[in-house]
Symmetry: C2
Subunit: 232 residues, 2 copies
């Protein structure tokens, strides 16, 4: 497979003509794809190297261990997610609209972007215990960033008065992140459309207005009271 590549650029003799710093990128991209498809533990260093078009030794030169590759990939995922969301909301002021745009950006990155975000979310267990703390901190910052947006939206007065922001974040993240388990590119819905639909579900609910209890604020307060501390 490595030697029979007839589509290689003309008479390339042996090695080292692709751009130098691109090698790291190739490794992470290949690793992301493989980790996503088969999981971290089921992927071998040789496979990553081969997919990145290099020999195992070369990979070892950049990353001392397989764990290091995963670590770098996850850190990159947080960085990209954060920056994608920041870019998406731009200078929009409406705090509810910001949440919608952020949701779109997150889902689009997860579905169309590279695989690092998927690996961050779904291969969490593979991270060696020692490295977990660092990634956890970065991931925590991303989640706090979301909490900030949600607090803002909540503070705007347009959300229900009684809400548990952390639970809301978990709820939304779950719905959105789970898309990665069933979404297939080329389906009849784009990630942006899925995100908008989910946002509408989240914002307005699935029960038809005529069929709702009269005082939903009271209803929510009751449910939330049962949900906080104490088993009722």
């Amino acid at each position: 497979m490595t030697k029979t590549d007839l589509t290689a650029p003309s008479s390339a003799p042996v090695a080292a003509q692709p751009p130098p710093e691109d090698a790291d990128e190739r490794i992470l991209k290949a690793a992301g794809k493989l980790f996503r498809e088969k999981g971290f533990a089921a992927t071998t260093v040789r496979e990553i190297a081969s997919a990145a078009n290099m020999l195992p030794g070369s990979l070892h030169y950049r990353y001392a261990s397989k764990d290091d590759v995963l670590l770098a990939l996850m850190n990159r995922a947080v960085k990209r997610a954060m920056s994608a969301v920041r870019t998406a909301i731009g200078d929009v002021k409406d705090p509810v609209e910001k949440v919608r745009l952020a949701l779109r950006a997150h889902l689009e990155l997860l579905c169309n972007g590279d695989d690092s975000l998927y690996v961050l979310l779904f291969d969490w267990r593979s991270l060696p215990a020692g490295a977990r703390e660092g990634v956890e901190r970065e991931r925590g910052r991303y989640e706090s960033f979301w909490d900030g947006m949600l607090y803002e939206a909540h503070g705007s007065g347009r959300a229900r008065p009684v809400l548990d922001i952390e639970l809301v974040r978990h709820f939304g993240f779950g719905a959105i992140n789970w898309v990665a388990t069933w979404y297939r590119p080329g389906g009849e819905r784009t990630p942006g459309q899925i995100a908008d639909t989910f946002f509408a579900y989240l914002a307005y609910g699935l029960i038809h207005e005529p069929s709702r209890p009269k005082d939903l604020d009271t209803h929510f307060a009751a449910v939330m009271a049962a949900s906080l501390k104490g088993q009722g």
Copy 2:
């Protein structure tokens, strides 16, 4: 570790006094726990055997391969989920209430029950290609069962007229299943409370009534139209 077990029952010489059919159960239980904690590929047959209090050879007697253990575990997960939900709804007639109870049952099994459901949901990639079809069929039946409940609830007239049932299921499953990634037993919310809160979010939405657009049915129809076929 195997030989220094001083707490063994008195003078037990070598083998074979635990109940006979319990061995399978011990294997699946141990495997579920380990697969959940470390993932399928990162778990060794020896670890499973040791956790099930037997030697690797004994495990091999019951299951020809590690894949077989995973397969049995996953099939059991679908069976248990289906039966847990069926039991939970009992003979309740209200189709919306049925969904709430089903949600509770699913989440309680995922959080408090054995680990097989978690493995089914999160270690999907580890299933060998050959065995995938069978599990997929069973899992599909569970999902169809949910779709049936959702259709019923939708047909009752209490849900919004324009909804994509499959998308709704994905949405709810995502929110609920994701709980398994952050829930820790002994926290301040029980699975049942989380499920009820999530159901309230889902049913009634997070935006406060006074701040909603006037005609939400039209709003939803527009979002859904954009979400089905065509990129708009």
